[in-house]
Amino acid sequence: MPAGTEGDFPEIAYPPTRGIRAKTTVRIILQGLFVLMVFGPFCAVALQLLDPGVEAGRSWIELLLPTGRRGQLLMQSAGLATGVAISTTALGLLAALALWRCRQGRLSRLKWLALVMAPIPPYIHALAWMTALRFLSGGAVGAGPRAVHGWLLAWWVETMAFLPIAAGLCLLGLEAVRPALIESARVIRSDLKTLGLIVLPLAAPGILGAFVAVLLFSLTDYSVPSIFAVDVYTLEIFAEYSATGNAGEAFLLAAPVSVLAIGAVLVSQLTVSEAASAASPRVLTPMAPLSLPDWFKLIEKGGLFVLGLQILVPLVTLAAQLERPARIFETVQLAAGDIFFSFYVAAMAAVVCLAPALGAARGLLSARGRNRLWWFTAVLPLAVPAPLIGIGLIVIWNRPGLAAFYDSALMPVLAALTRFLPWAALVVLAQMRRVDQSLIEAARVHGKGTVMSWLRVDLPLVAPGIVAAAGIVFALTLGELGATLLVTPPGRSTLTIRIYNYLHYGGSADVAALCLVILGAGLGAALLVWAAMSGWSWLARRA
């Protein structure tokens, strides 16, 4: 064989070191834990189909196929979710475009603060807009609009509630577009054409991700529709289970809405994965701002105005309802037990989610090309309706001998983990994608061992993602209602349950005070995430 050909370098299979073996084992355990946590309740409910009690009631086909009233309900729910997703994505994109164009100066770093309301539960928006409408119509809004304009109000409030999430995902999509790709178009075409033909198609994963995320949130949420006296399919699952206590029936009832949500997840699988992958190491090249026509800037400002509204309306109406500032302290004292319990559950969920989220994110990082199974596994749980998760947990834990667990804070913690672990994994993954892989490889070459390299290099580099994931899970858990309502132990209540129960009787100073507590905690978590990400950007600029 001639010198210098491939034959000179026979492939050598290096035996894995003890450190690598240990790391792989830990990763497999964490990924197994992730799968168990997010699929456990769903599978437990599915297994209830084997229970003969299901057949004794109604036939499978009758439950599975949404005909008559249920069919209409499903269509209405899908219509509401689609409408909310369209309006939220459109408004979010406009607001994101306005924020994205603020690329330079100190103010550019504050743009993420426009999204601070993202972790605030939708029912707080519902309360705020009910109060605002009551005020605008001279106090006559109370029952009237709830009965007459229920769907419209539900659509508007859900749009407001999910707007910061959509704007945030659109902004992430826009930020991921490499400036060089924009500049190379700007020298050929006008800035408006560049925006339409280059920037928006390249930001499409973020924009489609926003659409699908809002669609899923709206399809699986019943808190806002129920406040506005609107029947949605997810509420039907909750109501049926409350009436019959039959988990198998609940599973079959949930199937149509789950199929719709799974369809959305499957369609978006590629875009969601690309949106998370798009957060690549980014060089902030200074660029002369895009000069867009005045009419476009006006539309953009419209989006920004609505984004501002969804911050101001809850803050102003809740503050106005409070009557006097001291009221907040009085209410906090009265609800101290619930507040402590909620914070405890949220903090536990935020801490416990980190290890399995890290393992899942690692799996997602290496799931490329045709190897999409892990992606499917990690993203699919987002499509499971919240009540079904609660029912699944009841099926698993409500057994003789497990009462000590079933009647403890473990249940709402598990409910939060099942619902929000996929989000935590996606956030950690986004940070992993931002890390220059050569830094990790350099650690492997120069490091003293796999574990030390991981502790000294990998972990600190992924730390902002870990902090952000913890903050997001904390805020989401604090506002979780769909599953918590079913699994909170007797004699205990969370802030959300207390607020939700009060809400059906209209707003009051007590509700406003409790909402402000949850708002403050949510904002605190959002600021933590923002600080973690800003800290990373600062570090990246120094590198």
């Binding site: 490499r178 060089a180 790709l181 190379s184 178009a185 050929i188 390249l202 002369a288």
Partner: protein, 214 residues
């Protein structure tokens, strides 16, 4: 004619270009060379209108196009630009990337020009491929084809021949020279390679690190 008058550019407080004045006549390439961080790319970005100068001005055919308080939009400058990173749009094929620059031409002319450029840059076989499906050298050639597509009056080339082997380098240099002769375009050619600089033109400026006045 391209005139750069006493241009300065600083990021925050760090000066990148300081008091640079130079004129580029039509059909006469100017080579800008120097080490990394000397401001070569910044100079091209200033000419393209992608950045605002801190002081000084840039004129094209006697008209001010860049000043601290005034920028002619980049698309109105009749430019072709080969970026250092190729900057091919990943959602468009090689052919669509080139066609993007031919938007205002009649359909038949657009097709002829596209075919001509694909042939000259030896990319006919790769026309339907996406940027991630081609090599670094092929991407450079596609970027060059895109830059030449609209027959620009000002051609800005930021290290356009990196990743190319010697044979291809020679053929692409020939293409650039031919275009210069035909169009009498003002060409600004950036490289860090002194030998390459001498091949392209006899007229060159050297930007040392943290450029001082010249």
């Amino acid at each position: 004619m391209l005139e750069i008058r006493n241009i300065e550019k600083a990021y925050s407080v760090t000066p990148v270009l300081r008091g640079l004045s130079v004129t580029v006549e039509p059909g006469e390439p100017l080579v800008v060379w120097g080490p990394s961080g000397s401001g070569k790319t910044t100079l091209l970005r200033l000419i393209a209108g992608l950045e605002v100068p801190t002081t000084g001005e840039i004129l094209m055919d006697g008209q001010v196009v860049s000043r601290r308080d005034w920028l002619l939009p980049p698309s109105a400058r009749q430019l072709g630009f080969v970026f250092q990173s190729s900057a091919l749009w990943p959602h468009l094929t090689v052919a669509a990337n080139i066609r993007f620059a031919l938007h205002s031409r009649p359909r038949l002319e657009m097709r002829r020009r596209l075919e001509e450029l694909l042939e000259r840059t030896e990319l006919e076989e790769l026309a339907g491929r996406y940027p991630h499906q081609i090599s670094g050298g092929e991407a450079r050639r596609a970027a060059l084809a895109r830059a030449l597509a609209s027959r620009p009056r000002y051609l800005l080339l930021d290290e356009p021949l990196t990743h190319l082997n010697d044979d291809l380098k020679e053929r692409m240099l020939h293409l650039i020279h031919e275009y210069r002769q035909q169009s009498q375009a003002c060409i600004v050619y950036v490289t860090h390679d002194r030998e390459e600089a001498q091949t392209v033109s006899t007229r060159s400026i050297n930007l040392p690190t943290a450029a001082g006045s010249r």
